[in-house]
């Protein structure tokens, strides 16, 4: 019994309104965690069986790094007893590759070039393109797209799924706009067409509809885009 009590310090399970939060010790071995989790789960009968669908589990793992296989292993430990999915992992550490990726996705790439028919410009993070995107050309970014020039081809912002991403252009007469998985073509009737005469931005509203607005609206649509500045 004493040994069990000592082990019990490694795993703390908390119920929250969204599901379960697991606080996992970051010093012991992963095996120890898994054993202890098994013990705890078998001691406590499944109280969540009346909930529909899987229970969401959040892991708080401190300075431990878990890769996808290890997380799966933890999830499997659970699934012997109850239906769960691990939907959030809160860790204080990350791999170099992930850090690199994160850095890239937050960076701003500046390109001075005309993107021509058949060419695809793809970047991680935001892009400032100084030049035109011609018909038949594509610009893709995991973040936002800012074009100092004429957008006549395709622009795809947030192409890995970021629905907050925006597309701005000095002259907005695209053949197609995409944000995350939402696609928009210019209207077929010429009257509603953007004229390309003024700077505009495209974004998704709460209903995931793509809207095009004057650039002046951008700061209210996406307040997080701007840095604080006193004028």
């Amino acid at each position: 019994m004493t040994s069990k009590q000592r082990k019990a310090q490694h795993v703390i399970i908390k119920g929250t309104k969204d599901g379960l939060t697991l606080l996992l010790d970051d010093q012991c071995s992963l095996d120890a965690l898994i054993h202890e989790l098994q013990d705890k789960l078998s001691e406590h009968p499944d109280t969540t069986s009346n909930v529909h669908g899987p229970v969401k589990v959040k892991l708080v793992i401190g300075k431990r790094y878990l890769d996808d296989i290890q997380i799966k292993e933890l999830e499997n430990t659970f699934s012997k007893e109850m239906n769960v999915i691990i939907d959030e992992v809160d860790s204080e550490v990350m791999t170099k590759a992930d850090a690199e990726e994160m850095k890239q996705n937050n960076q701003m790439t500046r390109i001075v070039k005309f993107i021509r028919s058949g060419q695809v410009l793809e970047v991680k993070g935001d892009i400032i393109l100084i030049g035109d995107v011609n018909p038949g050309a594509t610009v893709k970014a995991t973040g936002n797209i800012y074009i100092l020039g004429r957008l006549r081809g395709v622009a795809h912002a947030g192409f890995t799924g970021n629905e907050e991403a925006v597309i701005c252009a000095s002259s907005m007469t695209p053949s197609q706009l995409r944000i995350a998985s939402i696609i928009r073509r210019p209207p077929e009737n010429k009257e509603n067409e953007t004229t390309g005469q003024e700077m505009e931005c495209a974004y998704l509203n709460e209903e995931n509809e793509m809207l095009i607005d004057k650039l002046q609206k951008l700061s209210s649509i996406r307040p997080n885009l701007t840095m604080d500045i006193d004028l």
Binding site: R116, S117, Q119, D132, N134, P135, G136
Partner: protein, 266 residues
């Protein structure tokens, strides 16, 4: 050492061969030593437009395969002592030669000629690669049609990747003034704004071009015809002269400005 200029377009039938023949002829008129090279293997035309088809004995593939010496394959023009043609083979296809081989051949020609004009086949595959391999300069030909401009843009993108080729120059061919004025076709300004490269010249759509091609007499030989003057102007610009654009475009320009003034969008 001479300069090799490839004439290309992406889209077929927009006037590469016509442009090659006429700029070549116009350059020869200014006394330059010029060699025209047809790289459209399997679909050779340049010899017909130049009226030299009957004189072909060897061709570009023969030279590359060392069936003959380069000098033996060169055909001297009927009209000019300083103009030569290296014809393409008609019985082979584009894969009969490699870019490196063409490059070597063009390099050899550059020793003897002021200008080597390379007629490129349509498309962006092997034939295109062969044609640009030895080039120092590029002329992109387009007509005022959207599809042609689109393909020109594609080609310009590819040419910009070629380290040895200077930034390409544009020739807009088969302009029909009345259509541009009426806004029924793209106008010069619009095309240049999309392609964003220097304009080398514009050539009107002219029945004389077709007639003279059929006779094997490039139109550039006829000093009265409008298209001929356009080709001669292009040749002079290639020679480094500053020649203003022809009156035709001036008219279009003036007209446009007038339309703008009147608030009509063309």
């Amino acid at each position: 050492m001479g300069e090799a200029i490839v004439v290309t377009s992406g889209k077929g039938g927009v006037g590469k061969t016509t442009t090659t023949a006429n700029i070549g002829t116009a350059l020869a008129l200014t006394g330059k030593k010029v060699c025209l090279v047809d790289t459209d293997i399997g679909l050779r035309n340049l010899d017909v437009v130049m009226g030299l088809e009957n004189r072909i004995i060897y061709d570009l593939v023969d030279v590359v395969e060392e069936n003959c010496r380069l000098q033996q394959a060169l055909i001297k023009d009927k009209r000019f002592d300083c103009l030569y043609l290296l014809p393409a083979a008609q019985t082979k296809d584009k894969s009969a030669v490699e870019p490196e081989q063409v490059k070597k051949l063009i390099h050899e020609l550059k020793q003897d000629f002021d200008y080597i004009l390379i007629d490129c086949p349509a498309g962006i595959e092997q034939g295109y690669k062969n044609a640009v391999a030895g080039a120092d300069q590029a002329i992109v030909v387009t007509t005022p049609e959207i599809s042609s401009v689109r393909d020109a843009d594609r080609i310009i993108g590819l040419l910009e990747k070629e380290e040895n080729v200077a930034s390409p120059k544009l020739v807009i061919n088969r302009i029909r003034n009345h259509m541009m004025v009426n806004g029924e076709s793209m106008d010069v300004e619009e095309i240049v704004s999309i392609l964003a490269i220097d304009l080398l010249g514009i050539v009107v759509d002219d029945d004389d071009v077709i007639k003279s091609s059929n006779n094997g007499e490039p139109v550039a030989l006829d000093p009265k015809c409008k298209a001929s003057i356009a080709y001669r102007n292009i040749a002079r610009r290639i020679n480094g002269e500053t020649v203003p654009l022809m009156s035709l475009e001036d008219q279009t320009g003036v007209f446009k400005k007038m339309k703008k003034f009147l608030g009509i969008r063309g």
